[in-house]
């Protein structure tokens, strides 16, 4: 539940000069839960998959196939980044339904951090795939006059990633908080269920857009 402005981070404590916000603490929690859960689930994998292993494989292979659709042959190398984006954003969005928790993605710093990682990854994979000059030359296509616009779009799409994720999640949480404050304890439950669904949709959108951006950078044809 939000006890301050939804647009400001809630600082829980400081480590030296570093303020530790609730979003960071929640992220640490997720960083503990997700790998630990993965380790628990994957330590007894076998050739004959059980029910849990089947679900796990379905999730990973499903994400890989989604990445393949937008990034082509480079899907394997992009899997860790893009699958983690999806799992982290989906799980982070879902934390908002827990009492006293707030979704890290409802903070603009988290959304911006993810968008920044995507921004860097786009250029990293683009340069790795096409070489520095080849990649940079891609900004001047299809015409040289498009160079400023292409450069600008690199930043605007990163900004749009940030704002889209932050705005959707933050507004959802804000709305739930308002309804909870005005109507009572159980009234926001349908809204929370809807928020869960929207959180998954946002995770999907963010991941697919990141995949599209990186795929466009890897391939010759620029996509925005």
């Amino acid at each position: 539940m939000m006890d301050a402005s939804p647009l400001t981070s809630t600082i829980l404590f400081h480590i030296g000069p570093i303020p530790i916000s609730q979003a960071v603490v929640t992220t640490w929690g997720l960083m503990l839960v997700l790998p630990l859960g993965s380790w628990l689930l994957t330590r007894r994998l076998g050739r004959e998959p059980g029910r849990l292993q089947a679900v796990l494989e379905t999730v990973v292979v499903g994400i890989l196939e989604q990445i393949s659709e937008v990034a082509g042959k480079s899907a394997r190398s992009l899997l860790p980044l893009l699958a983690t984006l999806f799992l982290f954003i989906a799980s982070a969005n879902s934390t908002s339904i827990l009492p006293g928790m707030e979704a890290p993605t409802a903070r603009i710093e988290t959304a911006a951090a993810l968008a920044a990682v995507v921004f860097v990854s786009v250029h990293f994979y683009g340069i790795r795939a096409r070489g520095l000059l080849g990649y940079l030359a891609g900004f001047a296509k299809p015409k040289l006059i498009m160079l400023p616009l292409n450069l600008l779009s690199e930043f605007t799409r990163t900004l749009s990633l940030t704002v889209r994720l932050f705005g959707n999640v933050m507004s959802g949480e804000f709305m739930i908080a308002l309804v909870l404050a005005l109507a009572g304890l159980f009234v926001p439950i349908p809204l929370m269920a809807l928020e869960l669904l929207l959180g998954l949709v946002q995770a999907y959108i963010f991941t697919v857009l990141a995949g599209v951006f990186i795929g466009a950078a890897i391939n010759a044809q620029q996509q925005t």
Binding site: T8, V24, M31, P35, E109, A113, V117
Partner: protein, 251 residues
Amino acid sequence: MSFDWWTFGLQTVNFVILVWLLHRFLYKPVLRFVDARRADIDKEHAEAKRIQQEAQSELKRIHTARSETEAEREAVLAAARTEAEIQAAARLAQAEHDAEELETQARKSLQAERDAAAGETRKIALDLGMDVARRLLQEVPADLRMATWLDRIENHLNALEPGKRDALLVGPASTGRLRVIGAIPLPKASMERWRERLIAILGDDLEIEFAHDPDLIAGVELHFPGAILHFSWRGTLNAMRVEMTADADAR
């Protein structure tokens, strides 16, 4: 609204660490097993494909063998059919030949029976004719019956050359003896007339005996020492019988 750069930096680092952690504990192990299973599936698929190809080859071989068997069967059938046709033709020809032979034999047998019947009929007819002639001749007086024959014998002997006529009277057993056998016994007067006229032709040394044989029907037979002259209906009828038999055989 404020932007906390510390939070931004920490979240960035956190996310990068999370990428590594999930890659280490989730994606890698899962993909390892997925890849292993996929390899197994590919291997089994390849094996299945190999087996399928083998099955197809086997199927093709079976089809080929079946086609060959079918062709062989057709060839055997054709050969058997040809052999059967040849045998049928041979048997038909043999049957036709046998039938023709049977027909020929039947015809011959029938002809022989006809000939036999005809011969029998002729014999009966001749016997009947002879019987009829004998009965009719019995209506004619004996002198008159024999007189005709005497004239004829006289003409015949007169027509002979003297050498031949003399040869009649010479035989291995006797000489100058004539035996006159008539169909009926000649009366005494007729005998004398016959003797006179024969001696007039053949000479005085001739010794003549008279006898009779009803089988002659009509006429006489002159039994010379060197030959027999037939002037009887039996002789004529026998000659006719021989001629008719020869004529029937010729037909």
